[in-house]
Structures are given as C-alpha cells and as structure tokens.
C-alpha cells in the first residue's frame, strides 16, 4: 500500500501540480475526461491566439482560466471606445492602450501561473512562420480575409491545427482546420471575396455577444484538442444563427486539389495575401478611384456661400436616426428603384458614413446619366472630424 506524501506526480511527465493548482483546477481534476493527466497536458500546451478582439476576448479568458501553460497573443491594435461593446477583456480605462498590454494584464489576473507572450505586431508573411513555430495550436480570431489565408497557409506549411471562428452580425462559423488530415480553409474557400462584396462589422454591425459565443466555442475546441477528448469540429462547419438560436452543421471535405494541403500542393511558401485578396498596401483600392469627390470643408464652404446643392444620404434609416446632414435619404439598396426622385439638373453631393457606399451611389448615378454628382470624401465621419465635431461618430 503506497504512502502518499506531498503532491502526486504523474509518472510519465515528471511534472507536478502544486497544491494551489490542484485547488484552482479542482473542477477539472474531478472529471475523468480531464483529471491530473489532462490538466498537465493543458499546462504543457502552447497556444497562439491571433487577434485580441471580439473573438480573442472570451478565447483568452477561458484558455487562461483552464490553465493553458503558454499563451501567445498577436495584435497590433489599440483599444478603441467602440470595442467595448464586445471585447470584454477590456475596461473603459483601457481605451487608448495597446490591446496586447491590456489583454495580458487581464489574463494574468485570471491566472498568474501561466506564461503569456505578447506580440504587438501585424502578422505578415515575413513573421508568421517564425511566430507559429513555437506553438502547438493556432487560434484564428482575426477580422479580415488576407490574415485568414495567411494563418491557414502558415498552419498547413508548419503542420499545426487552426481553430477557426468567424462572425458577421448575428451569424457565426466555427471549425478546426488542418487537423489529422482534415480540410483547411482553402479547401472550403479557395478564393476570398473581392473587397466590397462582403460587408464587415464596421459596416454591417455585430451583436456584441456573438463573438463571445463563437470565441468560447473556439476555446472549447482548443481545449479538446489539447486533451485529445471528444470530437473536434475537424471536417465539420458549425453554423450558428443567433437570432433563430439554431446550430447547424455542414460537412467539410479536404479537397485533394487544394493548392496548399492537397495531394499535389503548389503553395510551398507564404505569399502576398493583400494582393491575393485584391487589396493593395494598407488600404484596398476603393471604388472611389475616378469618382468625383468633394471634401467636407469644400462642401461647407459651398453651402455657406449659398450654393444650391442637393445632399443625398445613402445610409440606412437607423443610421439617419444617429446623426444626419439634413440630406434626402435613399438607402443605397433602394437607389436603383428611387433614382427618379433625383433631379439630374441639380448639383448632387452623395454621402454615407465613411464615403464607400456613397462612392457606389455616385458610380451608379453616373452610369444612369447624372453629370453633376460628387461623393463626400470620408463621409459623415470626416464631416465630424473636419467641420462639425458635434456630429456624433459611430
């Protein structure tokens, strides 16, 4: 009969859990699916989180709480006031601080005994492979297509699983890419949408709690991969519809012709993903190229002079309620049907929130024969910055 003294060691790892850890993780330890062996796997695991935003917030909190021994967090952004609606690692007092700093403090507060490494850098083709190499599992919590393809390709090239989550408004997707022969992101989506065809959260909005749910699903999948328990989402795309409160599952298959993970891959190194996604440099080539523009200051000067300008607002009615410039509201989607409300003999200035939708409107109206039409550069946001700060930004 062995005499148990001090803290039990798990023979094959030689590592131990301290008495404090045993207490902290007691609810894990009393489950046969985790137990001491599972908790030690968590302690040895190295997980890299790409993005410390909406998805990264619950993800980081739950991985830290679970005792993942080493967490890496990559984010170059700074906490913005508009983030607080969903990025729950941050407090109001964090606004203006680098996200990785605020996130590290919060996660270390939850669990001081884990190692947290932060990388305040943009993830690029020149740093991704070196960054990923040290970690076992990569979790994609990013917010744009080029980075998703970059993360995917780097994971395939380094043979690491990629725990994927994405959201839009009130829908989410989650899966595990490149795990035990399963499909990768390119198997599902060989090509990204061209800029402008799929709206982003800043344009479409998002229910704050949605990334909370999807990020937590990603944390769950990550922990399952570490423990080697349950059925990971590899080969399955989980679709979540928050408004209907429905989960659905679609089957994902590895594409044998996939250029990066297929039987005869053609991609052996990382590429220029902005170019791949049709975006040049830091900002994509906007449809504003070639569209006649007027700046907010120029518009103000002309209005003050008494010029007879017709202001066309192509935003949605709920945006008009937030703030407006006394424009005539025709939402962009309704413009084709309602263009007859406009007088092409008048000078028209079209605006929206940031200048993108109104550029589309100007292009459309030009094609319909309107000649005296301009796009308000930077939209109502720029108007607020340059002309009238009392107009709220949103």
């Amino acid at each position: 009969m062995p005499i148990i003294t001090g803290t039990p060691a798990v023979p094959d790892t030689g590592r131990t859990l301290s008495q404090q850890d045993i207490q902290r993780y007691s609810r894990h330890l009393i489950m046969p699916e985790v137990g001491m062996a599972g908790q030690l796997k968590l302690a040895k695991a190295k997980v890299l989180m790409i993005g410390a935003g909406g998805l990264g917030a619950p993800l980081g909190l739950y991985l830290a709480a679970a005792g993942v021994g080493r967490l890496g967090v990559v984010d170059f952004d700074v906490v913005d006031f508009t983030n607080l609606q969903r990025q729950i690692t941050f407090s109001t007092s964090d606004v203006g601080r680098p996200k990785i700093q605020a996130a590290k403090e919060r996660l270390a507060g939850v669990n001081p005994s884990i190692r947290i490494d932060t990388y305040e850098t943009r993830l690029t083709s020149s740093n991704a492979l070196d960054l990923f190499r040290e970690y076992d599992i990569i979790v994609d919590g990013t917010d744009n297509f080029p980075t998703r393809y970059l993360v995917n390709d780097a994971c395939v090239l380094l043979n690491k699983p990629n725990v994927y989550g994405s959201i839009f408004r009130f829908e989410g997707q989650s899966t595990v890419f490149h795990y035990q022969g399963g499909p990768c992101y390119r198997c599902l989506y060989p090509e990204p949408p061209p800029p402008g065809l799929v709206p982003s959260c800043a344009e479409g909005g998002v229910l704050g709690v949605l990334p909370g749910i999807v990020g937590a699903l990603q944390a769950m999948e990550t922990i399952k991969l570490i423990l080697g328990t349950g059925e990971p989402l590899s080969g399955r795309l989980l679709l979540f519809d928050a408004l209907g409160m429905r989960f659905r599952e679609l089957r994902l298959r590895r594409n044998p012709n996939c250029p990066v993970c297929g039987d005869h891959p053609t991609i052996h190194e990382l590429m220029d993903y902005e170019e791949f996604c049709g975006i040049r440099g830091e900002e994509y080539v906007p449809v504003t190229t070639g569209i006649p523009e007027i700046t907010p200051r120029e518009l103000k000067a002309r209005l003050d002079r008494g010029d007879d300008l017709f202001i066309l607002d192509v935003r949605e009615p709920h945006e008009f309620q937030i703030c407006h410039l006394n424009g005539h509201l025709i939402p962009l989607g309704e413009l084709p049907k309602r263009a007859s409300e406009l007088d092409s003999s008048r000078e028209i200035v079209a605006h929206c929130r940031s200048g993108k939708r109104s550029a589309e409107a100007v292009k459309f109206l030009q094609q319909a024969g309107f000649r005296k039409i301009w796009n308000l550069k930077g939209g109502i946001l720029a108007w607020s910055d340059e002309v009238d700060p009392s107009v709220p930004k949103y």
């Binding site: 998805l55 994405s166 829908e171 940031s354």
Partner: protein, 94 residues
C-alpha cells in the same frame, strides 16, 4: 421538388430581407436560377460574369457541399434544404 433555400445574413438585404425562400426545383442549379431570377441583385454576389458560382460562396444540399455531389446538376428531393454559405471574416472596417 419543393426545396427551401437558406439565405445567409450577409445576402438577406438583396433577397427582400428574408432568411429563407421556397421554390419548386428539380436541381440545385434550377433553384439558384429561380432565386437570382426573383432577386436580381443577388446574381452578382453568387455568380461571376461568366455564370459560374463564385468560389467564396459554397452551396450545400442539406449538409453536403455540391462540389462533391453533381454541382449545380445535383437533383433535389421534396423537403431538401439548400444553404448558401459565404466567407465571413467579421471585423475590420475597410
């Protein structure tokens, strides 16, 4: 065959704000043509200029990707669900 087409959030604004629509269609392609016939604005989001389904949009018949069935010629049965699943990436205002 009476089939239901599920419209993803990102495209509902082009489909009269509906989450799903129903058609009688013999194949997946037939159902999609009726969809873009009824809602013309959807066409450019689903199809390229030369009439192919865009590669960042996946079409599923029930839970199977049509690329692994007979693509647009995949036959449908009563009660089938066709899902349109575009790439989404959340976040960044461009």
């Amino acid at each position: 065959m009476a089939v239901k087409l599920e419209i993803p959030t990102a495209l509902r604004q082009f489909a009269g704000k509906q989450a799903s629509v129903e058609f009688n269609a013999a194949t997946v392609g037939d159902a999609l043509k009726q969809l873009t016939g009824t809602y013309g604005d959807l066409r450019k989001h689903l199809y390229t200029e030369d009439g192919r389904i865009r590669s960042f949009v996946n079409i599923y018949l029930n839970d199977e990707d049509i690329r692994y069935l007979q693509k647009e010629n995949t036959p449908t049965k009563d009660g089938d669900t066709i899902s349109i699943v575009p790439s989404i990436a959340g976040g960044k205002g461009i």
